[in-house]
Amino acid sequence: MATDNANLPLLPFEKKLIHVQRQIAELEADQETSDRDFSATIQKLREEEVAILTETYDNLTAWETVQVARHPARPLGMDYVDRIVKNFFELHGDRRFADDLAMRCGLGQVGTEKVVLIVQHKGHDTKDKIACNFGCAHPEGYRKALRAMKLAEKFSLPVVALIDTQGAYPGIGSEERGVAEAIARNLLEMSRLKTPIVCIVIGEGGSGGALGIGVGDCVAMLQFAYYSVISPEGCASILWKTGEKAPEAAEALKLTSGHLKEFGVIDDIITEPLGGAHRRPADAATQVERYITRTVRQLKRQPIDKLLADRYQRWRKLGKVLHLDASPDQ
């Protein structure tokens, strides 16, 4: 089966699957009552389904990738926690203002590794979504994350950050309590935190709200996640003067995992199951778990001074500039 998820809503570019999936469903239903054996035909149709999925997902445009990253059935932060973290002990509150449910932090174990988790969570049903502000954290979320990171440093536990947000919450309270300062502080403290940090963009890497928990030794992305300085809609509205041009903006922003690995923005791409993480959440979780345990083990072997020196260099070299010859440029 190409999917663990029955009745998955199809994205516009997946419509080619409708016909074959309907045929499979009909044959399966007929099989219940019929003495004839349809298994060979079903098998053939399933192969066709896999071929269509492979063809589609090997050739996703940037905008289609964004849609996969935002798929309503895509596994969210706490889904990964549920599947791969043993003995999760959640940490609540920033000790300053409130507990932000868009940013979930906790102690726990991934494989055999004890870690501190920092997880952006968007929420599943309406009630859940409202409780965690659709994954848009307030300053208290970033400050809770910093508190968790300081705990990690104190107890020499690696930090694992799962990133999935459209951005930090744009609201009055957010500005009053200094969301910019909260994000800035995390960038600075993460750059010198004396314990390994692994960051994984699992869905949407929405600008500063994502980067606010995204400074690490290793930064990875799930294959169909995206990471961008601005949303495609926002970019399109400013430069193309209409949000309708989001597909063009998505392409221009080069926000997919493949491009970002070339730019050195990320170190690794975690392959997703055929047709995206939403088709096989359990397999996606296994991939993420393997990446975490393998990377954490590698980073833990480094002496802390080398780890911090490497982390500095990793971030230091980001960006692309031209160097003129010694002559001044004006």
Partner: protein, 295 residues
């Protein structure tokens, strides 16, 4: 770039309360409040002002103290001791890593246009200078250059400047004026926030003094990185300082924003800056802080 159009606020199929231009912040106003000629109208008090008198007053309205925006070079002249600014890192100039194109324009063309307009190669000037005889490392963002947006060059020059301050034990002064991270370099612009912050962590570890001055406007990724990480944060009166753009916020909460929201006075009240300093007093206040910190 014109003001952010209203339609972007409802653009696309964004789910949830977030609106997409949050990190662009408010766009820079045009130059319309400073027309050419002998006279100008103050956008603060509506009075007609003699242009020369305003210039002599550091581009501050003598009647209502409204602070007009000033470009990078002019800011250097206002802040540094005469002829003391030694510019560094001018050999670092913009690339076009994404080969970014929109509506028949290329990023490369846009950069050339901004360079011709401002006479600068990028949106920040970096170097050493003296302020009342005290040697400093100085970074001045230029709001006239593509809205003072932060791309790879701005991040690289500032990082080199921070490293220079760390190595030379120089007080670091950065004047911020920025619409946020620059879209045309994609995630590489975003990463400059992490890069400059990492360099500032080292300056901090070395006991270096960092003073930031927030001018109108300081928004988006600039605010959420080096602008807010100084030991001492000063702001000019009335400066707009924030993370998300005002229209993004009012659209999200579906309400009018309170008067004075995200202005320097609002940040002072909420505990995020140390002082609001009128432009003519900046030099003496910076010198005082340097002396009091024993740097």
């Amino acid at each position: 770039m014109a003001d952010i159009p209203d339609d972007m606020l409802n653009g696309g199929n964004v789910e949830g309360p977030y609106r997409p231009d949050a990190f662009e912040g408010p766009a820079m106003r045009g130059k319309k409040d400073i027309p050419d000629g002998l006279w100008m109208r103050c956008s603060g008090c509506e009075n007609m002002l003699y242009r020369k008198q305003v210039a002599e007053n550091m581009e501050v309205c003598p009647k209502c103290q409204h602070h007009f925006r000033v470009g990078g070079r002019q800011r250097v002249d206002q802040l540094a001791d005469p002829e003391s600014f030694a510019e560094m890192f001018t050999d670092i100039v913009p690339a076009d890593p994404l080969a970014f194109e929109w509506l028949g324009q290329t990023y490369e063309q846009r950069i050339t246009k901004e360079q011709e307009k401002t006479g600068n190669s990028e949106a920040v000037l970096t170097g050493t200078a003296y302020i009342k005889g005290r040697r400093i490392a100085m970074g001045i963002m230029d709001g006239d250059f593509l809205m003072g947006s932060m791309g790879s060059v701005l991040g690289e020059r500032l990082t080199l400047l921070i490293e220079h301050a760390t190595e030379g034990a120089l007080p670091l002064v950065i004047v911020c004026m920025s619409g946020g991270a620059r879209m045309h370099e994609g995630a590489l612009s975003l990463m400059q926030m992490g890069k400059t912050s990492a360099a500032l962590a080292r300056l901090d570890d070395a006991g270096g003094l960092y003073i930031s001055i927030l001018a109108d406007p300081t928004t988006g990724g600039t605010t959420a990185s080096f602008a807010m990480l100084a030991d001492i944060i000063l702001a000019e009166p009335g400066a707009l300082i924030g993370f998300a753009g005002q229209r993004v916020i009012s659209n999200t909460i579906r309400a009018e924003l309170p008067n004075g929201f995200q202005r320097a006075e609002f940040l002072l009240e909420h505990g995020f800056i140390d002082h609001i300093v009128p432009r003519p007093d900046l030099r003496s206040e910076i010198a005082r802080v340097i002396d009091l910190c024993g740097r």
